[in-house]
């Protein structure tokens, strides 16, 4: 092993790895999805290159020693550490001889694989380890023994590529994320760099980062938006930058790739209709895929649960079905962990069967139901007795009461623990609502005229009038009478503008925290809950 040659190969490996660093970072979901495998491998390799530059070794054994030491010193991250052991096993064999032959390389790959496996306490297949082992197996084949080293390396590289492609078959976490193993992919790029260094061939261009990623892998990053929207726009002289700029305003995780005649769009947005409209404005839209990512996340959790994969994602202990009206409310409940939401509520009560169906569709045996309406509680209890699962009804009488209870829900905790916490929250919550009177009436001693605002606190009418500010003031006073520190307002259809409300409330009590969410429920312009 000659120092100049080793320097050259290490640099060539490094150059190719650098070109793929971002792609490999993006693949990283195992063992910890922190997106740094490519960076760690580059840093590890860089320390080898630097040590070689500084080395004054004259014989093969000394070169091997320097390389081993540098790899160990510089190893970063899990993949870097395993890689350092691959390097160690590899150069230890090469260090025994001054020249290089295919037979010796075969033994070196074997040494690399064995050393790496030995270093890891519980080797996991579908990782870098599998890739180096399969490379070693290829290198040992009889037919390669008498070929020139460059040909052997090409065959080993091909075996490595093949092994990387099959990593998702071996490791569920990878399959579920739709990616290949990041460490394995890094190892192949290092090998590719070395092959090209050894043969003097030009390196192929690094593939486009976006193309290399699968649909599910993109969703490993968590989006605040709900819909993943993918489509192709075909046309003439399409303006990629212009479309990108427009799409940026409505979402994130944006990718627009292609040329002037066809662009592929990927965006996370709450308004996929608008995204498509931007497409149809400039060309013909095709291949539309719209996926509900909240739903996908839940599905992935279920898949992982069933597969028993060693995963960073949640395993559910308790499922939850909520009944609530309005798109905004549905989204709030889902974002807080509701497994299923049934549209319904005032004047659109769901049937017991609707609830049973939802309960059965939940992947857990323990299920909580939030009826969120006094008229739905009984139906929910009936549904609970019809279902084969262990169902408990948390008797929330209104959407806002259910919302308060929902804040305490932790799907990985037991149903007992969740029930206790949620009942405690219902107990301590004061609720109110503002509606518009549909006829003249007298209720709880309050005279009401059709068309006027009516304020109720804990289901009792307290004020009516045409001036919303006056009604709201009285309602807020009463709902906060217990000294609660948090007030949440869910706005419904025909909600009045609430400009200045938060400021005036906080002025009244600087310790009060106010949140306003778009609930979208009919009949009640404002729902309030104090906690």
């Amino acid at each position: 092993m000659e120092l100049e040659l080793v320097r050259h190969l290490a640099r060539s490996a490094m150059q190719n790895l650098e070109a793929h660093r971002r792609r490999i970072d993006d693949l990283n979901v195992y063992p910890v999805p922190d997106g740094d495998t490519g960076t760690n491998l580059v840093l590890t390799l860089r320390s080898i290159v630097e040590a070689l530059d500084a080395s004054t070794a004259t014989d093969s054994e000394a070169v091997a020693k320097d390389v081993t030491r540098a790899a160990l010193m510089g190893a970063r991250g899990n993949s870097g550490v395993i890689f350092s052991q691959i390097v160690r096993g590899f150069v230890e064999v090469l260090g025994e001889h001054e020249g290089i032959s295919s037979a010796l390389l075969g033994r070196a790959f074997r040494g690399a694989s064995d050393t790496a496996y030995r270093a890891v306490k519980r080797p996991v297949e579908g990782t870098m380890l599998t890739v180096i082992r399969e490379m070693a197996e290829e290198s040992e084949k009889k037919e390669h023994r008498r070929v020139p080293p460059a040909d052997l390396l090409r065959a080993v590289l091909a075996a490595g590529e093949d092994a990387v492609a099959r990593t998702p078959e071996l490791l569920d976490v990878l399959r579920n994320a739709g990616v290949v193993d990041a460490g394995g992919a890094g190892l192949v790029e290092i090998a590719r760099g070395m092959v090209h260094g050894a043969t003097g061939e030009e390196l192929p261009e690094a593939p486009m980062e976006a193309d290399a990623l699968g649909f599910d892998a993109i969703h490993q990053e968590l989006s605040e938006y709900r819909y993943c929207t993918v489509f192709v726009v075909e046309g003439e002289s399409l303006d990629k930058d212009g479309l990108e700029a427009e799409l940026e305003k409505i979402g994130d995780s944006l990718l627009v790739v292609g040329d002037a005649t066809a662009l592929k769009v990927h965006v996370h947005t709450d308004d996929p209709g608008h995204a498509l409209m931007l497409g149809t404005a400039v060309g013909v839209v095709e291949g539309v895929e719209i996926a509900n990512m909240h739903h996908q996340t839940a599905q992935r959790e279920v898949r992982l649960l069933e597969g028993g994969a060693p995963s960073a994602l949640a395993t559910l202990a308790t499922g939850l079905v909520a009944v609530c009206p309005g798109r905004g409310n549905r989204r709030l409940f889902e974002s807080l962990g509701a497994t299923r939401v049934i549209e319904g509520g005032q004047s659109m009560n769901p049937s017991a069967k609707d609830i049973v169906d939802a309960v059965e569709a939940v992947p857990t045996d323990d299920v909580l139901v939030l009826p969120n309406n006094s008229n739905v509680i009984l139906t929910a209890e009936q549904a609970a007795s019809m279902s084969g699962k262990t169902v408990r009804v948390i008797p929330s009488k209104s959407v806002q009461a259910g919302f308060a209870a929902m804040g305490r829900f932790v799907p990985t905790e037991s149903a007992d623990e969740n029930e206790r916490a949620m009942l405690e929250e219902l107990e301590g919550a004061a609720t109110a609502e503002i509606t518009v009177a549909s006829r003249d009436a007298s209720l709880d001693g309050v005279d009401i005229r059709e068309g006027e605002y009516l304020g109720l606190v804990d289901d009792v009418a307290v004020i009516s009038g045409s001036d919303l500010d006056v009604v709201l003031d009285e309602v807020v006073d009463r709902v906060l009478a217990g000294g609660q520190g948090f007030l949440t307002i869910l706005t419904g259809e025909n909600a009045p503008p609430l400009d200045g409300l938060v400021a005036s409330l906080e002025e009244r009590d600087p310790h009060l925290e106010v949140e306003i969410h778009e609930g979208g429920q009919p009949h009640y312009p404002l729902l309030l809950v104090a906690q």
Binding site: V32, A75, V120, E224, A312, G407, V410
Partner: protein, 287 residues
């Protein structure tokens, strides 16, 4: 072999948040992990203290990342302990960091069975508490078997509850574990978290700090009895006001409790917990 503090050393990594260990005990060593801000790399505590770290976190345009020590870092630490016959190397949960793996490789490099590498299956001051528990036994003389039994009991009975301002930091660093279940919420709700089987789990979600304290109190009271030997530790990320609140809580609920450590979370743990995080640890050990 009779193990004493004369012949047995303890190596901690910097996720123990116990940088004073070597100054307090001549048989202890402290190996830093790395914190990276863009192209700048720092050794935890040694080159970037907690105060500078939180300042940098507020002002730096890049988000930090962390890296485990290299095997060579551990080899170096083990080599400084050549006068000792046994080394206990205690590390952050292998489910959230490759530190344990690096230490294992270094132990193999040293050879023999001199170095015992222990996966604490937890993090931060809990590891410091384990170090003290071992040290108490070394002071009176102990055996490998007794330490193994202690570690086993520690895995089951050392508890931690912590709460963070936002799950964003755990999420970003990929250390969120099963607490993913309460992430992605639109609302200003505070998760109460724990570590089970070496990974982060959510145990409750509450509205506001007060409720988080009440939840910690309820769980602490349920899990402990007021007997001597109950040790408590409090660690916070740049929000010292918690130290008083939680120490007071410990003494109110369990007058016999001893507050063994209070400290600031260092740069590495702080990178993953985020400013405003606080951890409350306890371990019952009468030795």
């Amino acid at each position: 072999m009779n193990l004493t503090s004369e012949n047995t050393a303890i190596v901690l990594d910097s996720t123990s948040d116990y940088p004073d260990a070597p100054a307090r005990f001549p048989n202890m060593r402290f190996v830093p992990l790395y914190v990276r801000f863009g192209d700048e790399t720092f050794r935890d505590y040694l080159e970037l203290g907690p105060a500078e770290f939180y300042e940098k976190l507020r002002t730096s345009p890049v988000t930090p990342a962390t890296a485990q020590p290299t095997p060579a870092d551990f080899v170096e630490a083990y080599e400084t302990l050549s006068a000792y016959e046994r080394i206990y190397s205690l590390h952050v949960s292998a489910k959230v960091s490759g530190t344990f793996q690096s230490a294992e490789l270094a132990a193999q490099d040293v050879g023999g069975d001199k170095v015992r590498v222990v996966d604490s299956m937890t993090a931060s001051l809990a590891i410091a508490m384990l170090a003290h528990a071992i040290q108490r036994r070394l002071a009176r003389g102990t055996t490998d078997d007794e330490i193994s039994a202690l570690v086993e009991r520690f895995h089951v009975h050392c508890d931690v509850l912590f709460t963070v301002e936002t799950l964003e930091y755990l999420q970003r660093g990929g250390r969120i574990g099963k607490a993913q279940a309460v992430a992605g919420s639109l609302l200003n709700l505070r998760p109460v978290l724990s570590v089970e089987n070496g990974e982060v789990v959510a145990v409750a979600r509450v509205r506001g700090k007060q409720k988080a304290v009440a939840e910690i109190e309820r769980r602490f009271a349920d899990a402990t009895t007021d007997e001597p030997g109950l040790r408590v530790a409090v660690a916070h990320a740049d929000s010292a006001e918690w130290v008083g609140t939680l120490s007071e809580l410990a003494w109110r609920v369990r007058p016999n409790a001893e507050v063994e450590f209070t400290s600031t979370l260092g740069a590495v743990v702080g990178t993953h917990a985020g400013p405003g995080a606080v951890g409350f640890f306890w371990f019952q050990d009468t030795d």
